[in-house]
Amino acid sequence: MTERDQAKRIAIRMFTAKCRRRRNLAKLTIEQKVRVVLQMQRMAREISAAREGSRKMRKAGRVSDHK
């Protein structure tokens, strides 16, 4: 396959994914989207709490910095 054909394939795949995403998007109500956002917020808070927790543990010398 030539480089041009490969680029064409990738472009088609990206376009198909975009169309699929738009179709799925159209199915969601705003209330459903807001619910997804609230779930994202919860996850973000959990991640930052976990980060903060491990930072404190490291500071207290209870966990090694070595990876």
Binding site: K18, R21, R22, L25, L28, T29, I30, E31, Q32, K33, V34, V36, V37, L38, M40, Q41, A44
Partner: protein
């Protein structure tokens, strides 16, 4: 409290004349047009009844809401799940965005929201890194009315800003 109820509380402020007109902008407004993304607050852009020629005060809004039991949190006031920030229209573009906002109905929910083209224009005007990142996402997933958008950008002298944005994100070296 559901999102619909949060919106109803804001709408009531308008019905009671505490605000002249509201429209949802920012991340939550963008949600109407694109896939869900992480955003923390609800931006309610407002025109206040006594704003013309006087000092803008959000006091009546805060008074009415705290009376109902909602609590201020810094520059926000929490109504249900969302901290709501009331932003008085601060320039001609935001005034126009509120004036031309559209009613969106979805499921059992109804809200007045900025048109996509105004959201794009405001993101170009503010141009913080997060606005630019969101703008890339918005333009990837939604199609603004090009003619309407161009008119807005010309009217508010943002055409050059758009050209710079395009150069930064879409021009290939």
């Amino acid at each position: 409290m559901t999102f619909a109820k949060t919106l109803r509380v804001i709408e009531e402020l308008e019905q009671k004349g505490i605000i002249e007109r509201y429209a949802i902008g920012g991340g939550i407004a963008a949600l109407v047009y694109v896939e869900p993304f992480l955003t923390y607050d609800l931006d309610a852009f407002v025109v206040l009844p006594s704003a013309k020629g006087k000092l803008v005060s959000l006091r009546p809004i805060y008074d009415a809401l705290t009376k109902k039991g909602f609590k201020p949190e810094g520059e926000h006031i929490r109504i249900g799940d969302f901290p709501v920030q009331f932003i008085p229209a601060y320039n001609r573009l935001t005034e126009e965005a509120i004036r031309e906002a559209v009613i969106v109905k979805s499921g059992g929910l109804k809200m007045r929201v900025f048109r996509l083209e105004h959201l794009v224009a405001i993101m170009l005007q503010t141009s913080r890194p997060k606005d630019k990142a969101r703008l890339v996402q918005v333009l990837d997933q939604a199609e603004p009315d090009e003619q309407y958008l161009s008119q807005i950008l010309t009217r508010h002298r943002l055409s050059r800003r758009r050209a710079q944005f395009r150069k930064q994100f879409y021009d290939r070296a």
